[in-house]
């Protein structure tokens, strides 16, 4: 595909989007393998163990979302700043360095699956911290690439034009890069280690990522629904205040059971319980804007995915999070399939959906079109089916994991007292196994959805270009 008509930032964004979608596919493949290993524990045992497939599944998710975010920022950067990117070549170099590092890290995960827990392992194989297992050399590389990204964003806005969205975005990137440093040092005290590790996981996910997504959503609403800039900027400020107000100290719900002082039970429980209030309050804003705009957009797939984002964020983060956030019940649910259920819906609903929406916003521009309305040659069946299958698949997995998690917290934790006997009783209970079987079925539905999504992204609107060309020739 020729991309000469795109600006430099957008051309770079297409590269990031391409890797993002490739990693999304990898995430689902390794998710399917992990799910199968729950049902058939001997599957690939000794070749590709569960701990490896799960590591790649989760790390691929973190990295593809980051690629999606970076790509989205590069996509809007020149348009928003009204100037060319300051360090485009540096940005391209950082892209290839980051992508090479990701490829090497994944290969090492797959090829070196066990070894001693020493400094060599930590620096070159696996750091051992769940979700951010990348070895130290890759950590340093990631930070350098993030600094290049930050430089490009900050310097470009400084050279061009600042706006409310760009200001929030730039400050958020400082936090995004800075907080990652908290997961880059080792302490032998597991409580202290976990204390800082959660800074990366929680504060990224429930603070800096949320704000970054808020910026993308604000920009996306301007593009898709032509919402007034002043309105989205005002709401971005309000959202940031609300998210930070409850989200930062909501960190405490991860400190319940890691050996931190008892006051974290109160702080974590209190602020976590307040975290859904901004989400609920935002319903008012959504209804108001929907009434004012009548939801008429110029890009139907992007609008549909933005709506999926609003619902997914509300249910995944709000409902599924609140159900087990208080320490009085979290004592039994923490780390069971309950967490996996919440994680699947929240990550998909809050983040995957918005990245997909941003890619759909970009696609018509890549093909030299104005939008993706209802006049697609094939009726847009591929994007509609991929939207439906992906959402149905993830919601189905969420409910299946919820059933397994309920059983696990009941039998393993409450009745079995978190003993080995309790653990194995729960893992072999019919409810747990049936939940895992249904998870697998819905995982397969999700994988059909991703195939359709990739197919659609590669082909959507192509026929229309030919149609439009024929019509132009006929008129001439």
């Amino acid at each position: 595909m020729k991309l000469d008509h795109l600006n430099g930032g957008q051309q770079l964004a297409v590269k990031y989007y391409t890797v993002a979608i490739s990693l999304f596919v990898a995430q689902i493949i390794f998710g399917l393998l992990s799910g199968m290993q729950y049902l058939y524990p001997e599957l690939l045992f000794g070749m590709l163990d569960f701990n490896v497939t799960r590591t790649v599944h989760i790390n691929a998710m973190v990295v593809w979302l980051l690629y999606g975010f970076i790509g989205s920022v590069y996509w809007l950067l020149e348009e928003e700043s009204e100037t060319e990117i300051v360090g485009l070549k540096l940005g391209q170099l950082a892209f290839w360095v980051l992508t090479s590092a990701v490829a090497v890290v994944v290969l090492v995960f797959l090829l070196v699956q066990s070894g001693p827990g020493d400094d060599f392992t930590r620096w070159f194989v696996n750091e051992g911290r769940e979700y951010i297992e990348a070895p130290r050399w890759a950590d340093i590389g990631i930070v350098i690439c993030m600094l290049v990204f930050f430089y490009n964003v900050a310097a470009t806005f400084s050279k061009g034009k600042w706006s409310g969205i760009s200001g929030v975005l730039t400050l958020d990137l400082v936090a995004l890069a800075g907080i990652y440093l908290a997961g880059m040092f080792y302490t032998p005290n597991i409580s202290v280690d976990q204390y800082w590790w959660w800074w990366v996981i929680h504060l990224w996910v429930e603070a800096t990522w949320e704000v970054l997504v808020g910026c993308l959503m604000a920009w996306g609403l301007m593009k898709v629904l032509k919402v007034d800039r002043k309105i989205v900027t005002t709401w971005l400020y309000i959202e940031v205040a609300l998210m930070f107000g409850s989200g930062i100290l909501g960190l405490g719900h991860h400190y319940f059971w890691i050996g931190t002082p008892e006051y974290w039970l109160t702080i974590g429980g209190f602020f976590s319980a307040l975290e859904p209030i901004p989400l609920v309050a935002m319903v008012v804003h959504a209804v108001y804007d929907a009434g004012a705009r009548h939801m008429k957009g110029n890009n139907n797939p992007a609008l549909a995915w933005l709506i999926a984002h609003a619902f997914g964020n509300f249910f995944g983060a709000g409902v599924w999070g609140f159900m087990h956030t208080l320490p009085q019940i979290n004592l039994y649910t923490h780390g069971t399939q309950w967490s996996a259920s919440h994680g699947h819906l929240a990550f998909f609903g809050a983040y995957a959906t918005i990245v997909i929406a941003m890619i759909y916003i970009a696609v018509p521009y890549m093909r030299g079109q104005k939008g993706l309305g209802s006049n697609l040659p094939d009726g847009g069946w591929k994007w509609k089916w991929s939207l439906g299958l992906l959402n149905m698949g993830v919601v189905g997995m969420t409910v299946a994991l919820l059933i397994s998690g309920y059983e696990q917290s009941f039998i393993e934790r409450a009745v079995g007292g978190s003993t080995w006997y309790g653990y194995f009783s729960a893992q072999t209970h019919p409810w747990f196994i049936q939940g895992m079987e249904w998870r697998m079925i819905f995982g397969l539905i999700t994988s059909v959805g991703i195939v359709l999504l990739v197919w659609d992204l590669l082909t959507i609107g192509k026929g229309r270009v030919a149609q439009e060309r024929e019509q132009t020739q006929a008129v001439a």
């Binding site: 007034d228 002043k230 309105i231 005002t234 709401w235 309000i238 008892e262 039970l265 109160t266 429980g269 209190f270 319980a273 307040l274 859904p276 209030i277 901004p278 989400l279 609920v280 309050a281 935002m282 319903v283 008012v284 804003h285 209804v287 108001y288 804007d289 009434g291 004012a292 009548h294 509300f314 709000g318 409902v319 609140f322 159900m323 087990h324 956030t325 208080l326 320490p327 009085q328 019940i329 004592l331 039994y332 309920y406 917290s409 009941f410 409450a414 009745v415």
Partner: protein
Amino acid sequence: MLEPVELKDFFIVFFSGAMVIMAGALYALLFAWSRLQSKPWMMVLAYASYGILFISVLVLGSAAHLHGFWWWLVITMLVGYLLAPHGIWNLCVATHASSVAPEADEKDLEPGSNQPINKTIKEESV
């Protein structure tokens, strides 16, 4: 200080916890819709939803043993969910009035006005 949930109350805690958020969202949705379309009967449904939220919070508080200091959490949730839609609505009116239709009659955009907001905006755009 912390009294864990009893085994028999597991489902009650999960269900009431989910109902707090669902009823809260329904209250916010109906509240905004009622104001937007100027349909007072919908406001009755909105407050009925808040009533469900109120009961759900109390049930959750009882099943999760939210006593002593934790009682403040119950109070904060009840007040927060009640007032948040009002606050956000006022912010919506203020931000839209100053940017979408600056020349619109302020009365048309005020909460409780008989003039539906979407009608006002449509007329302004025409």
